[in-house]
């Protein structure tokens, strides 16, 4: 197997909550390899959100090592973390987190606007390509409030991949969506993954995790299970099983 793109060793994170110390992570070791599609699952309070924040370079561990694409993340400052997120990571959130009153295309352009090494024309071209990859090229000029939930999430996915990240982190990306739209989003992730894009999904829904290739279970701040998905499902196949009615008004 090739070298991991992400590698954590002995990761811990504790918070001071008043008098008590909360140990959110108690020593996590794991690796992610290129072209993987994995899900981190666990009950609320298990520490999976904390792990997600640290892996997403939004937060720093209390102790332990985190190597992302050759960068020693644990020793970086605020702006260096920003640059790392900007160049190496993509984010998809449960609540989409698109900028309001900003077109789909401009939302997708956002990460590239904070880079100083590409021209406006290149930014536009990259953003249009990303929008086309999620099937929304013709909605480029629409505002978020003119798009359905599924479309908004696809814009967010386009934004997460516009900078060619080594890893896309998706935090409960189907949490706010109905079954059919959720399947469409998972289908999109599976198609992106088949084009060798690495995706890390955080979810508490087992049937969503079943679309990934590897499942990591977190409990009480530790990884308790890390297995390949026994019976990996195809979102496309599941979509085809849905009755064709009752679909049009949902999109």
């Amino acid at each position: 197997m090739s070298n991991p793109i992400l590698s954590v060793r002995g990761l811990t994170k504790s918070y001071q909550m008043g008098e008590t110390t909360v140990h959110a992570l108690r020593g996590v070791d794991f690796d992610i390899y290129p072209s993987e599609f994995l899900a981190i699952s666990g009950p609320s309070g298990s520490g999976k959100s904390t792990l997600m924040n640290i892996l997403g370079c939004l937060d720093l561990p209390t102790s332990g090592k985190y190597l992302l694409d050759g960068h020693e993340v644990q020793s970086l400052d605020r702006d260096a973390l920003s640059r790392l997120r900007n160049r190496n990571l993509g984010f998809v959130f449960q609540s989409f987190n698109l900028l309001p009153r900003t077109t789909a295309l401009e939302n997708v352009e956002l990460p590239l606007l904070y880079r100083h090494d590409i021209s406006s024309a290149e930014i536009r071209e990259h953003a249009m390509q990303a929008l086309a990859a999620v099937g929304l090229a013709e909605r480029a000029g629409h505002y978020p409030n003119q798009l359905s939930g599924g479309q908004q999430q696809r814009v967010a996915i386009a934004r997460s991949m516009v900078n060619d990240p080594v890893l896309i982190l998706a935090d409960e990306p189907t949490g706010n969506l109905d079954t059919r739209t959720s399947l469409e989003i998972m289908d999109l992730f599976q198609r992106l993954n088949s084009r060798n894009i690495t995706v890390l999904l955080v979810t508490h829904e087992p049937d969503i995790a079943a679309f990934t290739g590897r499942q990591v279970f977190v409990r009480d701040g530790r990884i308790v299970r890390d297995i390949p998905t026994p019976q990996r499902l195809s979102a496309r196949a599941e979509l085809d099983k849905l009755p064709p009615t009752s679909t049009e008004e949902l999109i």
Partner: protein, 406 residues
């Protein structure tokens, strides 16, 4: 992030809350307009004071006798010392910095001409008086040294007197007026000088030869004061000192005691008047500056609200890789756009207010380009100063908390 992109974001965010942005801007508009209008009024007042001081003449010195002071009781000016023509002659002889000098005998008199009469002051002076005050004759001629020697019953009158005795706009030259029943022939009409620094009408005056006034009207031998002019502006203080020395010698004032007269120069008078109008300008400008400060606090207030409202947006931007500096700049540009637009509107508003005051109230206003630049610069500085804290607050937000913010 490119500046054009920051500018676009700022405009978009400001247009999202049009009324709010406008009201915030209004604070700056009023502040800048007030600074410009108040400075215009202050400087206008100053310019008119300077003009009226210039109407006194050029490089003028006024020498007045001191008050009689014995056993602590002080009487009126002139009661202790009396000036004579010989004193004036002595000053002229001994002071090379003095160009012209004239004694001055003044009296309040009732004038009569035809069926009209008028109360005014008559000034008895040498012909040089008109040179000292740089006063020309509008019609007719000035009197000459020969008139002075012969105590001729001739006089010059000001526009106000001509208007009141002979009717507005008439030429009084050749007419005769009776001054305390002494008939005097009007040989010239003085150019109009308008009001002086104290608001007195300078055209309400009769000027006649010193000897004529002294002997035919007043019946005395003393001059009330001397009017002199220095050879140049630089020579005013020298002239003042030379005149003082000459007079002290003539009066045999012992060393170390105070002179029994005072010498005021045009510079002294100008300084006193300018100081007053400067105080006025400073007072007006500080009131205006306070309103600009209040406008700045308005910007800070609204920017803090804006940062709180847009916490999630800031979180998204930070998550996709904005640096602290990018966020800081974004909010700073927004504050600057408010203050710049406010500043520009303020200039328009301030200049038109000044013009309005000048045309309807007849106030002397003077809009200087400097005051416009200063006001605009201050508004921009206000934007940076009061926009800095909210912008820094935004830049320091924790991305995780900002993303979670509802």
């Amino acid at each position: 992030m490119r500046f054009s992109a920051l500018f676009r974001i700022a405009l978009r965010s400001l247009s999202r809350n049009k009324l709010r942005s406008f009201l915030t801007m209004l604070g700056i508009v009023i502040g800048v307009a007030a600074v410009i209008a108040m400075l215009a009024v202050g400087q206008g007042a100053r310019a008119s004071v300077e003009k009226s001081i210039a109407s006194l003449g050029s490089n003028v010195l006024i020498i007045s006798p001191g008050a009689f002071n014995q056993s602590g009781i002080r009487l009126e000016a002139g009661s202790g010392t009396r000036f004579t023509e010989d004193d004036a002659e002595a000053i002229r002889r001994e002071s090379d910095a003095i160009l012209y000098i004239t004694p001055l005998a003044r009296a309040g008199v009732q004038l009569k001409a035809g069926g009209q009469n008028w109360r005014t002051n008559i000034y008895g002076v040498y012909p040089e008086y008109l040179l000292i005050r740089q006063w020309n004759v509008a019609s007719g001629v000035a009197f000459a040294s020969s008139d002075e020697k012969s105590a001729a019953k001739v006089c010059l009158i000001g526009r106000t007197i001509a208007d009141n005795l002979f009717g507005a706009g008439t030429d009084p030259v050749g007419q005769t007026i009776r001054v305390k029943n002494v008939p005097m022939r009007i040989i010239g009409l003085l150019e109009s000088k308008g009001q002086n620094a104290l608001g007195q009408d300078q055209d309400d005056i009769v000027i006649a030869p010193f000897s004529s006034v002294l002997h035919k009207v007043l019946g005395g031998t003393y001059a009330q004061s001397f009017f002199a002019s220095a050879v140049s502006t630089e020579a005013i203080s020298t002239a003042s000192m030379q005149a003082e020395d000459a007079l002290r010698r003539r009066m045999k004032t012992p060393e170390g005691t105070a002179s029994e007269f005072t010498i005021r120069t045009q510079t002294d008078i100008a300084q006193a008047a300018t100081a007053t109008s400067q105080t006025l300008t400073i007072l007006l400008a500080s009131i205006a500056a306070i309103s600009l400060l209040v406008g700045g606090i308005g910007i800070m207030n609204i920017m803090l609200v804006s940062v709180t409202e847009r916490t999630r947006e800031i979180g998204i931007r930070l998550a996709v890789g904005a640096l602290g500096g990018d966020i800081l700049l974004q909010f700073l540009v927004e504050a600057l756009v408010i203050s710049f637009m406010g500043g520009l509107l303020g200039i328009v508003f301030g200049v038109s207010t000044s013009m309005f005051l000048s045309s309807t109230q007849g106030w002397a206003v003077k809009i200087s380009p400097v005051s416009i630049f200063v006001a605009f610069g201050f508004s921009a500085a206000t934007g940076i100063f009061f926009g800095w804290y909210p912008a820094r607050k935004a830049a320091r937000l924790n991305p995780i908390e900002a993303l979670r913010y509802e």
